[in-house]
């Protein structure tokens, strides 16, 4: 509630009224406060509340201060509500009804209905952000949400920021992965050209297929994983080849690989532990194979997973994946391992598969 500022209630130039509704009560977080009956106005720039009994009592918040909104359906004896989550108040905020508040959200209770339409219009304004295109007077501009350069890693803003960073990171990874795909496409084109040329020569019985063409063709076959004893010989015996590859793999972790068949990769990975390289191939019960650093102790991760699940009460694989920042596949493997070790137990219902701390073992 400390985000509100006193206002005359008059709209600025460029500020338009969108919708208004009588009979609205404001809550500071979950608490009822004295502002129990007012008219709520939505403009292109602000949310304004005016007391129905005392028109002098009028306050507003900027729409730019809103992080997000959610609906709360009506219940027995309870009006429908809109919950409005807010950015922290800037230090140079104009005076308002509350100096400070422990809550970062308010609730608007629609005692005379109108919640559905109001929510719809408010969502629209939040999406369109018209206030950004229609500048109004300086006094309205000062409340712009978090100042640039101020790093606030707490609360909703902090979480939002972290999620945004993660999203950018993911985008970057995807772009890099597609770089390899373009290289693959170029190689594929070369291969198609070569095949066509050989096919034509055979068909037209025109000239000999050169040795160079043969070698190139065989190397393409190997790249695709087509087992060819003749080709293998050219590159040394199978085992030696895989050993060499394993050594190389350990060194070129971050560098995009030349084309490599899945079979060769797996065989090379199987050698990692024997060759005492810092990487390790790990096979889960389900058959899923991953490459991990030797220092990565799955047991430690399981203990941490138990802590996370206990904190939240229960988690699905998807929820855990999102929380910890890993793929859903790996998240599921970790949770299943924790279950196998007796740290977690499962709840399998129509709502999905959910993991809980294993209270069967810990409670007497």
């Amino acid at each position: 509630m400390d985000r509100f500022v006193w206002t005359s209630g008059l709209l600025e130039i460029n500020e338009t009224l969108v919708i208004q509704q009588r009979g609205v009560r404001i809550y500071d977080g979950e608490e009822k406060i004295k502002f129990d009956a007012g008219t709520l106005l939505l403009s292109t720039h602000r949310l304004i509340w005016r007391d129905q009994k005392n028109h002098e009592c009028c306050m507003a918040i900027l729409l730019s201060q809103i992080v997000f909104i959610e609906e709360q359906a009506a219940g027995i004896g309870k009006s429908a509500k809109i919950v409005v989550h807010l950015h922290p108040a800037p230090p140079n905020k104009e005076p308002g009804p509350f100096q400070s508040s422990k809550n970062s959200y308010i609730k608007l209770s629609f005692k005379e209905h109108g919640q559905i339409e109001f929510y719809r219009r408010l969502s629209e304004e939040m999406t369109q952000r018209r206030w950004e295109n229609m500048p109004v007077s300086q006094s309205l501009q000062t409340n712009r949400g978090p100042q640039p350069g101020r790093i606030r890693a707490v609360g909703i803003v902090g979480i939002e920021r972290k999620l945004e960073e993660k999203r950018k990171e993911t985008d970057k990874n995807i772009s890099e992965a597609f770089e390899d795909l373009s290289k693959l496409m170029i190689k594929a084109k070369e291969m198609v050209e070569l095949s066509k040329s050989i096919a034509n020569k055979i068909k037209d019985k025109q000239g000999d297929i050169t040795e160079d063409e043969t070698i190139r063709f065989k190397s393409y076959l190997l790249s695709m994983g087509i087992a060819n004893p003749v080709t293998r010989e050219t590159y040394g015996s199978g085992t030696q080849y895989h050993m060499q590859l394993a050594k190389q793999l350990a060194g070129i972790l971050q560098v995009p690989l030349e084309l490599l068949s899945p079979e060769d990769l797996v065989n090379a990975c199987k050698m990692l532990e024997a060759l005492k390289l810092p990487l390790r191939l790990r096979v889960f019960d389900s058959g899923v194979m991953v490459i991990e650093l030797q220092s990565h102790k799955e047991e430690e991760m399981v203990a941490s997973a138990l802590e996370t699940v206990s904190e939240k009460g229960s988690l699905t694989s998807e929820e855990f994946a999102k929380l910890v920042g890993m793929s859903v596949l790996l998240a599921k493997e970790r949770l299943l391992l924790a279950e196998k070790m007796g740290h977690l137990c499962r709840d399998d219902s129509v709502e999905g598969l959910r993991f809980y701390p294993n209270l069967f073992m810990t409670q007497s």
């Binding site: 939002e160 007796g342 137990c345």
Partner: protein, 204 residues
């Protein structure tokens, strides 16, 4: 069945209604189920049940089970984000032990000696919160204490007579009583006989 029965903590724990794949966990879970079934039947003085009844009973159905959830929010810029907040007014769902799992629980009880199938198709069963051997022991102890060895009793007298009013086996259902006496018979401590209007027992 409006008696106030105190449900154990497991009854409010959603995983209780899923048969656990981890063997050690399952052992604990089944033990808790067996214990719950026996105390439930004891309080409600239910000595026999059909599988259908069991499926519908609050014993295997917690209609007020609560499952915790995180929240998914649609933000004003239309991006979808997970945010966590304590769920107010937790959603109530149902905890229902599937019939295959109910049958596993019943089989556990049978192995422990607390359950006996009353028909070949395994559609109804006798449930004994004390095993027949344990009842037999209690009955025989009373017989000896009251110096009534070599006496003859009708089954009715044993469970409904004035003399046994203070005994735990007072009011015991006939099916369970018979099995208790059969256990004693095996140990040659009693013999089930036919009396004028039904059955009786002679103690040695």
């Amino acid at each position: 069945m409006a008696m106030s029965f105190e449900w154990p903590w497991q009854y409010r724990f959603p995983p209780f209604f899923t048969l656990q794949p981890n063997v050690d966990t399952r052992q604990k879970q089944l033990a808790a189920w067996c214990s719950l079934v026996l105390s439930f039947c004891r309080l409600h003085k239910q000595s026999s049940m059909t599988v259908m009844e069991a499926q519908e009973s609050p014993l295997f159905n917690n209609v007020k089970l609560q499952r915790s959830k995180g929240h998914l929010f649609l933000l004003p810029d239309s991006s979808l984000k997970y945010l966590w907040r304590k769920a107010e007014g937790r959603q109530q769902t149902e905890g229902k032990l599937p019939v295959e799992s109910i049958q596993i629980v019943l089989e556990e009880l049978r192995k422990k000696g607390n359950l006996e199938w009353l028909d070949k198709s395994k559609s109804s069963f006798l449930i004994m919160w004390r095993r027949p051997e344990e009842w037999g022991k209690l009955i025989y102890q009373w017989v000896s204490r009251s110096g009534q060895n070599n006496s003859v009793f009708t089954l009715y007298e044993l469970t409904n007579g004035e003399d046994t009013e203070d005994e735990e086996f007072h009011g015991l259902d006939e099916a369970t009583l018979l099995r208790a006496l059969q256990a004693l018979q095996q140990e040659h401590k009693a013999e089930i006989i036919t009396v004028s209007d039904g059955r009786g027992v002679k103690f040695f």
